[in-house]
Amino acid sequence: MSRPVQFNNNPVPTDYKGHISVVGMPDGHMGEGFFATKLSEVVGLARKNSIWPLPFATSCCGIEFMATAAAHYDLGRFGSERMAFTPRQCDLMMVMGTISKKMGPVVKQVYLQMAEPRWVMAVGACASSGGIFDTYSVLQGIDQVVPVDVYVPGCPPRPEAILDGLMKVQELVGQESLRRRNSEHYQKLLESYGIQ
């Protein structure tokens, strides 16, 4: 005799209230049937909620990142669940872990392969400053080879800290002027890294 199959006998109605967040509208003028705002606001809104990260993970911070991307912390809530392992599709390079001096040119090469606009996040003490590896073979922070937008402290940082860093990047992305990448200031910054 087959076993009676029972499941979901007393279904609990799903409580969606307050669990689905919708991005708010940007500042603008609204009236009957129209809404007017700045182009940069709309572009910023679109960009900041669909940042494609490029994980450049070399050590333990990379493991924390995996936890961040997994279901419990869920990077997808911020529109960043789409990891790409080609820099040409990505907006945000997340460097996680110790970068040795021999690895430095590789980081720079990957950064160069990304299309503008691009952002860089240094996750953890090693990527930010060399960390405990105050030694001849380790790059003392990736900002020696590429410009960095957000630094996340910690050794390694908890997933909450990485999420906080991502939200800081979102803030930068959302508020960035559309002309920043063409500005003289930005060109000078890139030139100081020997790019272009």
């Binding site: 001096k101 021999k102 400053s129 060399g130 105050d134 030694t135 001849y136 073979s137 380790v138 003392q140």
Partner: protein
């Protein structure tokens, strides 16, 4: 036990006489040294001899003794006899101003990368090596970082107070 340390030692002394010296057995592992000109002859003997058969070079590295004038750099060979499962350690010493040691690559293929590593970190110049260039460090590096006159810490870093972080200091 088919091959004992005493047998290895007597074989070496029989063949090379006074040239092989400083026999010790730290933790039961036979260790000895010889003039650096003889390193290939001794390795070849250890490799070819019917009873010794040390045909596996497990490790090769250098040690820097900055206070031992005239013999600052030691090149250490770790050899393994796979038939009897016996390991020995063989050292040659060289002057740091002329760190030339014959390469063991013709005898042991595994010596190739290990000698490159030893060159990379200590600057031992292996004569006759087919491709003696840096293997682990960046090619632009212009010194040999494991020599003791060079501090471990990255000297390009300016944001650390040496006294607070215990950087620098003396060697020995």
């Amino acid at each position: 036990m088919s091959l004992t340390n005493e047998q290895i030692q007597s074989k070496l002394v029989e063949k090379f006489g006074e040239q092989v010296t400083a026999f010790t057995e730290p933790y039961g592992m036979l260790t000895f040294e010889a003039p650096k000109e003889l390193n290939l002859k001794i390795l070849q003997f250890l490799f070819d001899d019917e009873t010794l058969q040390f045909r596996f070079l497990t490790d090769l590295q250098a040690v820097h003794y900055p206070n031992d004038k005239g013999r600052e750099l030691a090149v250490v060979y770790h050899l393994h006899n796979l038939m009897d499962n016996v390991r020995i350690r063989f050292k040659v010493f060289t002057d740091i101003n002329k760190p030339d040691v014959f390469t063991a690559t013709q005898l042991y293929s595994s010596a190739n990368w290990m000698e490159r590593e030893t060159y990379d970190f200590f600057g031992v110049n292996f004569l006759g090596h087919p491709n003696l260039k840096r293997i682990l460090n960046v090619d632009e590096m212009d010194y040999f970082p494991m020599r003791k006159e060079f501090p471990l810490e990255d000297q390009t870093r300016i944001d650390k107070d040496d006294e607070m972080f215990g950087r620098g200091g003396t060697i020995n």
